[in-house]
């Protein structure tokens, strides 16, 4: 299904936020997820559904400087 991730249209197969991060190869413990302008709580990643047309912002928490 089609979603928008960080402003870019993407075709993904994951049905939950957690599965989506896995599909993208991103470590869930380091990623802040905003879905349709609302932050997803980290303990909800497993259950939060990803739907066609969702607008997702994924920010990786990094430590460099």
């Amino acid at each position: 299904m089609k979603v928008i991730i960080n402003g870019e249209p993407r075709e993904v197969s994951a049905r939950t936020v957690f599965a989506l991060l896995e599909e993208l190869g991103l470590p869930p413990g380091r990623i802040v997820v905003e879905q349709n302008a609302a932050i997803v709580r980290r303990d909800a990643y497993q259950d939060a559904p990803v739907r066609e047309g969702d607008i997702l912002e994924l920010v990786r928490i990094v430590g460099g400087g």
Binding site: V59, I61, G65
Partner: protein
């Protein structure tokens, strides 16, 4: 016109003095400001240059490293002639050359959970401009417990993020965002960073710090700003307080009094 500023300072700061939100009262607040910057690297170089240029009266600077050739791609406080020198010395010299009205206090050490409280005490605002997670966590925890406002930025590759953490206002803390910090130095090659991206984020840290000193509100106390240099995008999103946060949560035992 002022309280003890010289004509030279009036001219030096003239372009910000004419800003309605600065003026002489604001310049006075900047001069009275005490700001600690942890890390004289890519982020700290940009932040420190602008804080000194703006006339922040007292800058503290923490870094336990010496200048290396591979630093110069992003750590613009230091020059080729500074190779091998202590970073705090090289940085203090650069800042004092830019603005001799600025007092620079240096801490040539690596921050640990033990020494953070003693270092941050006496400063109004602390900037997290470090280059590793253990230091960031130690600093964030120490600042939270000491009630110090923390302006935290980090970068990697073409990306960076920025947030303000204000224990006095009970905002979400660093650990709310990163409940399980990555293990200390997993080894392997160093991470890539585009120097100009560190500069962008360090400059944003300086802007937020100056706003704090001027008493202007910051949205970033409850939000996270993310910069994606590859896609040329800024994104600002809410931060959530984690009820079970090990630092600020109800069961954390470390809530700000």
């Amino acid at each position: 016109m002022d309280s003890g500023f010289s004509p030279e300072e009036g001219l030096r700061y003239s372009r910000q003095l004419i800003l309605e939100k600065v003026g002489w009262p604001g310049q006075e607040r900047l001069r009275a400001g005490r700001v600690l910057v942890v890390g004289a690297g890519g982020l700290g170089s940009a932040a420190l240059f602008y804080l000194a240029a703006a006339g922040v009266g007292h800058l503290g600077l923490v870094d336990g490293d010496a200048v290396e050739l591979s630093n110069l791609q992003r750590q613009i406080l230091h020059r080729l002639a500074d190779l091998g020198r202590r970073k705090v010395d090289s940085a203090r010299e650069a800042l004092t050359r830019l603005n001799p009205h600025c007092r620079v206090e240096t801490f040539d050490l690596r921050l640990t959970a033990e020494n953070v409280p003693g270092v941050v005490r006496g400063f109004d605002v602390v900037l997290d401009a470090g280059d590793n997670f253990p230091t960031r966590v130690a600093l964030a925890e120490g600042c939270w417990r000491e009630g110090k406002i923390l302006v935290s930025a980090a970068v990697q590759d073409f990306s960076g993020h920025l947030m303000v953490i204000d224990p006095g206002r009970g905002t979400p803390c660093y650990r709310c965002l990163l409940p399980e910090p990555p293990p200390p130095d997993p080894g392997g090659p160093p991470l890539g960073i585009l120097g100009a991206v560190a500069g962008v984020m360090g400059c944003l840290q300086a802007v937020e710090t100056i706003k704090l000193l001027l008493g202007l509100p910051s949205d970033l106390a409850t939000r996270l700003l993310a910069y994606d240099g590859l896609r040329s995008r800024f994104q600002v999103m809410d931060r959530l307080k984690t009820p079970e946060c090990p630092l600020c949560g109800a069961s954390g035992g470390n809530r700000q009094p």
